[in-house]
């Protein structure tokens, strides 16, 4: 499907909800299946410092941060992103998911 950021296969979740909040587009941080971290649609994987800087920039612009992690990656690849979010003094992040239909 059409996605912002890198193309990843999103996990499915029953309780994922559409964020109705109006505001600027969130900053997209993608974690691909091989565990690399990308900011928006960058060609090169981001370094930890770049990630923290990008998140601080997002705070300054009032943006939320959306973490799009591939369903096949390991949690160990996602944890550093959350850690960086904490370091950048973000209050929270959004984990992207696809809505599980039915049931």
């Amino acid at each position: 499907m059409l996605q912002k950021g890198k193309s990843v296969e999103l996990p499915k979740a029953k309780n994922a909800m559409q964020n109705k909040a109006q505001g600027p587009e969130p900053l997209f941080v993608s974690v691909t299946a091989d565990g690399k971290v990308y900011i928006e649609s960058d060609k090169q994987p981001a370094s930890p410092e770049q990630l923290v800087d990008a998140m601080k920039g997002a705070i300054a612009e009032g943006k939320r941060v959306m973490v799009k992690a591939d369903v096949n990656t390991e949690y160990g690849a996602v944890r550093p992103v959350l850690d960086r979010a904490s370091k950048a003094k973000l209050k929270g992040v959004q984990l992207a998911a696809e809505e599980l239909k039915g049931k």
């Binding site: 309780n15 909800m17 949690y75 944890r79 850690d83 904490s86 929270g92 984990l95």
Partner: protein, 177 residues
């Protein structure tokens, strides 16, 4: 007349773009409608970086911490209790009621979430989904630093659903330096 009005000397060289523009406009409208339907999300909180200049107070002794873990094999644990996929929602509801009953003294129910580095992200996401399924009232806190895994004891949870006594779970936020 000497005027050349074209179409007489072979085929016209410029293509008719009118149908192309029609197609592009239709595609544009389709994508405009689809774009807002794309991203779904689960909101989680990350621990705030402690202000190093302020002394960090230890949590009160009666603090009930609820820690949800996903281990390497993808199994769910709450504090010292192992959950199966079938009973996870029901057990989490019990924990939620326990946390909710203490809301007046401890604030809204918070569940800390952690997953093993080797755990599949899909399982971690399933765990988050299960927590949301059990009650939408949870505030989910993501742990960003690894725990000392041996720190937890093996205290069983009484069948009444009373959570284990406090102090058996490691502190989920950054410990005081």
């Amino acid at each position: 007349m000497g005027m050349d009005v074209g179409a007489k000397k072979g085929p016209r060289s410029d293509i008719n773009i009118t149908p192309l523009v029609d197609v592009v406009l239709v595609l544009l409208i389709i994508f405009m409608v689809l774009t807002p339907l794309m991203e779904k999300e689960i909101a989680v909180r990350v621990p705030e970086e402690p202000d190093q200049t302020q002394p960090v107070e230890p949590p009160p002794a009666d603090l009930l911490q609820i820690l949800f873990k996903v281990d390497e094999a993808g199994l769910f644990h709450v504090n010292n209790e192992t959950l199966t996929d079938e009973n996870a929602i029901d057990r989490l509801k019990v924990w939620y009621r326990a946390a909710k009953s203490k809301e007046s003294t401890q604030g809204p129910p918070v569940i800390f979430f952690d997953a093993d580095d080797k755990a599949k992200y899909a399982r971690a996401m399933k765990g988050l989904d299960t927590i949301r399924d059990s009650s939408p009232g949870w505030t989910i806190g993501m742990m960003t630093e690894k725990l000392a895994s041996a720190a937890t004891g093996t205290e069983p949870t009484p069948p009444g659903g009373t959570p284990p006594s406090p102090g058996t779970t490691p502190a989920p936020t950054n410990p005081p330096q």
